[in-house]
Amino acid sequence: MAENSNTNVVVERSAVVDKLRSWNPNAISEVIEFRGETTIVVPRNVLRDVAERCRGDKELQFNLLSDATSVDRYPLEPRFEVNYHLVSIPRRTRLRIKVRLSSDDPTVDSVIPVWPGANWLEREIFDLMGIRFNEHPDLRRILMPEDWEGHPLRKDYPVEGYRDIPPSATRYTRNRP
C-alpha cells in the first residue's frame, strides 16, 4: 500500500542490502522489491551466517523472527522456497529472506541457534512440505499424525487427500468381512 512505500523506507532498505553485500559479496544472490516489501534471496550455504548477521549486527538488529514458511512451485525447479519474515523491533522494519531449494535435496540449515522461536515453524514446514532442516534438535511431525505418509502441502498431494485407508486405521478394519 502507498503509505508503506515512501522514499525514506526505500533508502533504508537498500542500506540493509549494501550492508550485507559489503560483509560478504556472495551473501545475496538476488533482491526482489515488490509492493514495498524487500526480499533478499540467499544461497542455501550462507543462510545461517546471513541470519546471524541480520540479528547480531548493530545496524540491522532483526531480533524477531516473525514467521517462517515455504512455497512449493511444482513443477518448476528449484521447486521449494523457504521464506523467513524478520522484524527489527528497535528499527521498525521488516525483511524477508528467501532460500530456494531443489526437489532432489530439499534440506537447509536450521536457524534455531539464531532465533530459538524457529523451532515449531521449521517443524511445521517439515511436516507439511517435507523440507528437512539440518541440526534441528526435534524434527518430527507437529500437526499431522506421527504415522502419516506424505506431506500434504506439496502441490503433487491431492487436495482431498488419498482415499485409501491410512495405516493407522487398518487395525479397525482387519476383522471385518
Partner: protein, 405 residues
Amino acid sequence: MSTIPGVISTVETATGQAKTMVLNMGPQHPSTHGVLRILLELDGENVIKAVPDMGYLHTGIEKSCEDKTYSQAITLTDRIDYLSPLGNNLAYCMAVEKLLGLEIPKRAQYIRVMMVELQRISSHLVWLGTHAIDLGAMSVFLYCFREREEILKIFEFVAGQRMMTSYIRIGGLALDLPAGWRQRIEKFLKMMPGRIDEYEDLLTGNRIWIGRTKDVGYISAEDAVALSMTGPTLRAAGLAYDNRRVFPYCSYEEFEFDVPTRTDSDCFARYMLRIAEMRESLKIIRQAMSKITADGPFRTEAAGIIPPDREKMKTEMEALIYHFKIFTEGFSPPPGEAFAAIESPRGELGVFVASDGSPKPLRVHFRGPSFINLQALPKLIEGKLISDVIACIGTIDIVLGEVDR
C-alpha cells in the same frame, strides 16, 4: 507416549521406586481451551518437563485455500481463530489487497477499525471469562459472556452473522453499515466502562486471584523475543511492540491510543494488560465512530476485482459481465508475494500470500500468534507447580483453531 523423544514414562531408581511420572494432560482437559495435549513429566507436583502435542484440530485450511479463488478463501479465514474472525478476514484481505495494489477508501478503513476493535474486546472477554473459570472464579465467566453477547448482537446487526461474519472483503466490506448502527454501538460504549470496572472489582484485589496469578509464569523480555512471542504476553514483559503502532495499517496512525505495557511479566501483569487494552479499544471505537461519515463508499472500485453495484448491473453490460466473471473464475493478481500483519487480540497475525498469476492463490500461510506463543509454554511452566500449568495456558490465550489450522 513413549514415542515422544525426551520423555521417559517412568524412571526406575536403584531402590526400585518410581522417581518421576508422566501425566497426560488433555486433549479433553477443560482448561486446555480446546484440544491441546501436554505431556507433563512430574516429580511430585513439580513439572520437570512439558511437551505440548497438537494437531487434533488440523483441518488443512492452508491447503484448502489453494483450491479456492481469492474471495472464496475469506470464509475459511473466519474459522482459524474463531474468537476473532474479523481480524482474520482483515489480515487476509490486507495481504491480497497488497498483492493487487488496491487502495481502500478511508471510510471503509474506519469501519474496519471499529469492527476489529469490537472484536478485540469480545475476544478478551472470552479470554477473561475462561481464564477465570479455570482458576476457580465462576461468576466472572457469566459477567464476561453477558457483555460478549452484546458485541455478538452488534455483529449480527451489522454483518448478518454472529461469529463467522466474513464481513471484511477484498477491497472493503461486504455491506454498508445498517441504519441505526450508531445508536447501537453508542449504547454499548456507554455500558462497557462500568462493566470493566465490575470485572476489576471481582478480580484485581481478590486474594485468591492474586495468589494464583502473581509471580506465576514469568518470562523475560529477551526470552520472549527470542521465542518470537508477540501480543499481550510480550507487552507484559515490557516491550511495547504493537503492530498498530509500529507498522500502522488501516489508518491506525490517525488514532490516539496508548499501548499499555507492564514489566512484571507474570500472569497477573498479562491480566492487567488485557483489561487496559479493552479500555484503549473503547477509546479507538469512539474515535472511529466520529470519523465514519454517514455517506461514502464502503469498498473501493476496481473493474474485474470488486463486484459492481447492484444498480449498475441492471443498466450496464460491462458491470454484468464483470459480476459474472468475478463469481465464476475470480480475478488474477500479478505474480508475487505479499505479507500483511495485524495486531490480533493474541499477537501478530500475519498472512503470507503468494500468487503465480492464476485466479487461485499459490500459497496462503497464516502466522498464527497462538501457535507461536504456545511454543513458550514449556519455558513458562518447567520447574513450577502443576496448578500453575493451568494459569499459564490460560494466560497465553491460545485458540486451538489457530494453533492447528
